[in-house]
Amino acid sequence: MSLLRDEGVVLRAQKLGEADRIITLLTRDHGIVRAVARGVRKTKSKFGARVEPFAHVDVQFFTRGSEFPGRGLPIITQAETLGAYGGRLALDYAAYTSGTAILETAERLTDHERGQPALQQYLLLIGALRTLAMGAHEPGLVLDAFLLRSLAVAGYAPSFVDCARCGLDGPNRFFSVQGGGTVCGDCRPAGSVVPSPETLSLLGALLTGDWGRADASEPRHRREGSGLVAAYLQWHLERGIRSLRLVERS
């Protein structure tokens, strides 16, 4: 038995028994951690909103037995707020649904190596939630930027300019999910599509963080872009991201 301290973002909070919750966090130093928050559903709980999704917390666990989950999940003994994004997001439905898809994707892309740090994904997540809560950009764009970058960190960086297969200098007209992004006329696999050049430019801007260019994009290119991002994401994950279907796009 030992005490462990880390900082993390609450990704999920599932009901457990009468008044407890199982909290899933992406932590800075231990990757995904599932732990029990006792009594949180009682309105007098000392944890309250601190262990709700979107909360960025400094958290202390009491682990039982082996390091991280096995039989007995760790128990959360303390949680102090570092950043409270949930309250703000819950007041903006589009931001809330985009944020939920961000949390679900972060869990999916880091969950395979339980207990291993995923620092880049962690920093990406914090950045995305902060940006979303500030309301500086359209929520759907923040979501798509996060999806593209976290896929890139996971080793699935799509190409939006050069041919993903032969490296031919872009811009290339064709886009193939299986092919890894834009492809040239010679390399294009069956089923390649031809998105508008502005859409590919927008996606490139989102991947590199060029917000000036992304914010200036038109709704129809955002719509086409989010469709391509969703298809690309699904291709690389075994199961779909459930909350993506419920994201409210303007």
Partner: protein
């Protein structure tokens, strides 16, 4: 693993909310040791509840006829609807004796991560109830946690253009919990201090 019928019972009990494998086993052995008359009473109660209890056609609350006791009560104010997630929240609010209007039970909260969107709740039914203009105030009493707040935000945005006064339970309720755990005093105060939602 136990043999046949005992294991079947443990499996069935284990499917109940909040009952883990250990608890299921404990309950099963309690039932095995219990007086047959007690067990028969339990079985009777289970069958009765499935036979007799339905959901109110108007508000979605548990009911023993087409409509629930509250919707049938002519003394209740038809101009105010209090929206809650579950029937058990109706019970909690009724205990405060603060509220004289009617209810609308959504059947949960919007939870994209669980795959629950607006179309999976009784929101369309709520819109139908609001259509005739009789209702002038909507009180959003979803749980004071993230999903409850997001659901309230969604509903407020949907209903505001209909010219309704839309309020949300507020002060007194610490965020992060379930409404059913609030004590009567806290919940009563939250009713007094409900605020206008500006979305």
């Amino acid at each position: 693993m136990y043999e046949g019928v005992v294991q079947d019972l443990i499996d069935e009990l284990g499917r109940l909310p909040g009952v883990g494998p250990k608890s299921a086993q404990r309950i099963a052995f309690h039932l095995l040791a219990a007086d047959p008359a007690d067990v028969r009473r339990l079985v009777h109660a289970l069958v009765e509840v499935k036979d007799k209890v339905r959901f109110c056609a108007t508000c979605g609350n548990v009911a023993e006829s087409e409509q629930c006791r509250i919707c049938l009560d002519p003394r209740r104010d038809v101009a105010v609807i209090c929206v809650v997630e579950e029937s058990k929240d109706v019970v909690a609010i009724e205990k405060t004796r603060e509220f004289r209007g009617r209810y609308h039970v959504l059947g949960g909260a919007i939870s994209p991560i669980e795959g629950v969107g607006p179309d999976d709740l009784r929101i369309r039914e709520l819109m139908t109830r609001l259509a005739d203009g009789v209702v002038t105030e909507l009180i959003l009493a979803t749980d004071p946690n993230l999903e409850g707040e997001a659901t309230a935000t969604y509903l407020a945005r949907l209903c505001k253009p209909m010219g309704l006064r839309v309020t949300r339970l507020a002060s007194g309720l610490p965020v992060g919990g379930d409404l059913e755990y609030a004590d009567e005093v806290t919940l009563g105060r939250a009713f007094e201090g409900r605020r206008l939602l500006d979305v």
